[in-house]
Assembly symmetry: C2
Homo-oligomer: 119 residues x 2
């Protein structure tokens, strides 16, 4: 987390994960890992925070810019941490503010599972 690199510095055992859901049944282990990512996006506040970061210019945003989602700031921090734990976001402190950015590889993996990118 030193600086900007698109290199997917993946968490322990975070491959492309899984084939499209329409291709083959998931194993128990795959399901556990994948469900964790879906669960991270399964909360309205978290989903909104994630979209705020993902749609921000450069794919990064500081907390001060996305704290307007209707909950208290500790709660925002809590959800941001959950997203980070799920591997969907990475954080970087730059001076006074902390910037969050999306992990594009994980996003693509989830989209691949759902959208059957057979093309």
């Amino acid at each position: 987390m030193s600086n900007a690199k698109a290199l997917p510095l993946l968490d322990p055992g975070a491959e492309p994960c899984c084939p499209p859901l329409t291709e083959r049944p998931l194993t128990a282990e795959e399901a556990v890992r994948t469900a964790a990512m879906f669960k991270a996006l399964g909360d309205p506040v978290r989903l909104r925070l994630f979209s705020l970061v993902a749609s921000h210019e450069g794919g990064e945003a500081c907390v001060c810019d996305i704290s307007d989602v209707g909950v208290s700031q500790p709660t925002v921090s809590h959800h941001l941490k959950k997203l980070k734990d799920a591997g969907l976001l990475t954080s970087e402190r730059r001076g006074t503010w902390v910037y969050y950015r999306v992990e594009p590889s994980v996003l693509a993996a989830m989209g691949h599972m759902l959208g059957r990118a057979t093309a």
Copy 2:
């Protein structure tokens, strides 16, 4: 797996839903609706059941064929109902057995949000 009909017999307010997450921040309402779908897939058992149905031939499977996910049958039924409530599955009773099938439009919508499926 070119199913016969892609007809989306939509649930109450089940449009294409939302733009890709990387395009624009979701509104609160969009986030609530979309998070419900992600949450439905946010449980390992449910995700496995869903993949079992989705990957079955014809996109449909009877309960008797997907009950081997490590939990009791009432629990399977419970999760199946959740998936149905979320609009991800539809059920149909055919004689003795009940068949579940995936709702392709919802799958595509989620994939579109995450991975911008292709283009």
